[in-house]
């Protein structure tokens, strides 16, 4: 759990976009994994990562189906869903990330680099499309993304908000703990 916990949590959070649901599925994944390992269902130990990944995804799919089925059976009986709004702490962290991104954008030269970031990260344009539109070579494009990533990392670290270094990775609490450690 210590070794794979952070990755499995990230995977579940990426699927559910809901920290509470991700936490529930995370617990269930490792409970079930332990049962199956004890029952000898994992025949090749080196395939533990794919095994856990598939287990987490199956649980997510089953949970998703259960939720949507409940919703279509009787809307009145559906329990209130988890609050999709970010918590106050997450809102603070998001605002801080936005501040860091603004700082990053201010530093980017030439301004075309800003456009590369927006097109790549937000407009979901492919590298080939962006290179063609902005007349960039593949190397130039890679350089822009690489520099932006490095600079953002250093800004994050300077702000004491390093990416998750603890076993439970992506949650806001772990980010704070990591930053304070």
């Amino acid at each position: 759990m210590e070794r794979f916990g952070r990755g499995i949590r990230f995977l579940l959070l990426e699927r559910t976009r809901d920290a509470a649901r991700a936490d529930d599925l995370f617990q269930e994944t490792f409970r079930l994994a332990l049962e199956k390992v004890r029952a000898g269902e994992l025949r090749e130990p080196e395939k533990l990562a794919p095994f856990l990944r598939q287990l987490a995804k199956n649980l997510f799919i089953a949970d998703y189906r259960k939720t949507t089925k409940r919703a279509t059976e009787d809307l009145d009986d559906v329990p209130a869903p988890a609050d999709p709004e970010p918590s106050q702490l997450d809102q603070v962290l998001q605002a801080e990330d936005a501040r860091l991104v603004r700082e990053l954008l201010r530093e980017l030269e030439p301004p075309r680099d800003r456009e590369v970031l927006f097109r790549f990260y937000l407009a979901s344009e492919t590298k080939e499309q962006i290179c063609a539109r902005l007349e960039l070579s593949s190397v130039q494009f890679n350089l822009v993304i690489h520099r932006a990533r490095l600079r953002f990392r250093s800004l994050v670290e300077r702000a004491g908000m390093r990416p998750g270094m603890k076993e439970d990775g992506g949650s806001s609490h772990s980010r704070i703990r990591a930053g304070m450690s």
């Binding site: 990562a49 794919p50 991104v101 590298k127 990416p163 998750g164």
Partner: protein, 278 residues
């Protein structure tokens, strides 16, 4: 999956954007669940993306406000120069909606400014807020006038359209023969009565031989020297007559001429006088 490939092909970003194939995504997931370096990159890229999204959203909101104010100014200018006619009825109806929405937006902004003025923290910017409020109030007044004018025009056009949709009874039909002399020579011998209740007037223009029915003509209706209407690609009926239906509102009292011509044919002139009717 090695880190050089992941870096060079931007696997981390493409995974977050959902641009990897199912197989690629699964291979990368099998890798990153056990790779702290890739998890760091994933979290960092996700935060970078969310930050960019928030910055872009804020900039879009600011741009939208500026754009709305620009639209408002353009709308205010429209009313002074535009002559609306029957052909613009649809445009007038379409204009009413944005005008109403803009007016509502101005009222909302106005309300916000009034509220802002009540706040002690807004004191340093009070003069600017006051100036902005006055500018918005002026824009609102102009938009209000514009909306009222458009609404009146729309109602008038709707009434005309409704009237035009009704069946016409005893529509007057005037058979006209071509003048021997050219237009403008003498007084028109044909008389047509047209008034507010007339609705439509039908002119049957005799072009002569029936063999003209397979030719294409061009017709021009003039009141004195002014062209009221013209149309091309017209085909006479099998009897060699060109039948024109005209709304009586087009025919104010006066002398009119219709010139009908075709390629390699001498033009035919028809004249008539419209006098006030019921």
């Amino acid at each position: 999956m090695d880190h050089q490939t992941i870096d060079e092909t931007h696997v981390v970003e493409r995974y977050l954007l959902g641009q990897l194939s199912t197989q690629e995504a699964e291979t990368f997931e099998d890798h990153y669940v056990d790779c702290a370096e890739c998890l760091d990159r994933l979290e960092l890229s996700r935060r970078l993306r969310q930050g960019l999204l928030q910055v872009a959203t804020e900039e879009a909101v600011q741009a939208a406000v500026v754009q709305r104010l620009g639209l408002l100014a353009r709308l205010a200018r429209l009313g002074r120069s535009r002559q609306l006619g029957l052909a613009l009825a649809a445009a007038a109806v379409l204009l009413l909606l944005p005008a109403g929405l803009l007016l509502r937006e101005v009222r909302r902004l106005d309300g916000e400014l009034i509220e802002a003025r009540k706040q002690p923290s807004a004191e340093p910017g009070r003069q600017e807020a006051e100036a902005a409020r006055k500018a918005l109030a002026a824009e609102r007044a102009r938009a209000e006038q514009e909306r009222t004018a458009l609404q009146q025009k729309s109602e008038q056009l709707s009434a005309e359209l409704e009237k035009a949709r009704q069946p016409q009874v005893n529509t007057p039909i005037y058979p006209l023969s071509p003048e021997r002399s050219g237009p403008g020579d003498g007084e028109p011998s044909n008389r047509i009565a047209a008034g507010p209740a007339t609705g439509w007037v039908v002119l049957s223009l005799d072009l002569g031989a029936p063999e003209t029915s397979n030719r294409t003509f061009h017709a021009t209706l003039r009141r004195g020297p002014v062209t009221i209407w013209e149309g091309g690609g017209l085909h006479p009926d099998p009897q060699g007559s060109l039948v024109l239906s005209l709304p009586a509102s087009l025919l104010s009292p006066g002398d009119y001429s219709v010139t009908v011509d075709a390629k390699n044919t001498a033009p035919a002139h028809f004249t008539f006088r419209v006098r006030p009717g019921r």
